[in-house]
């Protein structure tokens, strides 16, 4: 087990504040369609079993099918990388949201 996944299993990515605050109808949760059995069968490394694993599975499937003409999977690869970028944006927003809510909580304590 890699150190990255071990760190992730310890947790710490929980929301400190109510994640639904400011969303009167709620937020769409992040979901994946790939099951654990499929990931184990495809031998996906633990640190790759994130919310982009659907795109990774598609990419690997395409590679398996088109090998050795792997350049034909450029579309799948690009989609996977774009998903990782979107994941980065979400986590960056999470951090900023958490920081601002912390500030607001501190102000409320002062008053």
């Amino acid at each position: 087990m890699g150190s990255v996944s071990a760190k992730a299993l310890e947790g710490g990515s929980d929301y400190k504040h109510d994640p639904l605050e400011g969303f009167p109808n709620g937020r769409k949760p992040r979901e994946i369609k790939t099951t654990l059995e499929e990931m184990e069968s495809a031998k996906i490394p633990l640190d790759k079993r994130d919310y982009c694993v659907d795109y990774l599975m598609k990419f690997l499937e395409c590679r398996n099918e088109k090998y050795p003409w792997v350049y034909k999977c450029h579309h799948e690869k690009h989609e996977y990388l774009h998903c990782q970028y979107e994941d980065y944006l979400i986590r960056m927003k999470d951090f900023e949201r958490n920081r601002r809510l912390d500030e607001r909580a501190a102000k409320r304590e002062q008053h």
């Binding site: 990515s13 969303f23 769409k28 979400i90 986590r91 960056m92």
Partner: protein, 176 residues
Amino acid sequence: MAALIKKALINPVLRNNGIHRLQFVRLAGYWNKDWKPGPYPKTDAERIAAAKKYGLLPQDYEPYPDDGLGYGDYPKLPLVSADMKDPLYNWDYPEMKRNFGEPMHTQYDAYTEERLSNARTRYSAKHMWGTFLGIMSGFLALHLLCEYNDWYLRHPWTPPQYPNQGKTHYTYEPVD
């Protein structure tokens, strides 16, 4: 007409052959073994003969020491790299800055214009090394300080989120 064609075809060949033949006559040899320096001169007569062979005055002629690593009777010439020579002088071979029949240094091929130079430099070697190492170690110090003190300026973001761990993570899309 036939005579004209014959002249046009054969004359250039004859002319070129003539030049080649002349060069064979003018040069001292035509194969590498003919350019090999002779044995180390031991008597004065041999020294004078060797100096004449290389186009030098006898008082200027001095062979490399015969210590097993020498060059036979080849003269030990002052090393002047090509970029030290006058580019405006009317050289016989301007691209090599060299005159016809001029004796050449044994390391001449390494000291052409695009290769080595033995010109004196503006700063001493110690000064140049000091400048290089000073700047590089400055950058290295900056890098190490940033690397181990967490001084990097970067976008802060939360740790990776993984599904199937009993936690719910949300996107920023509101439910309609």
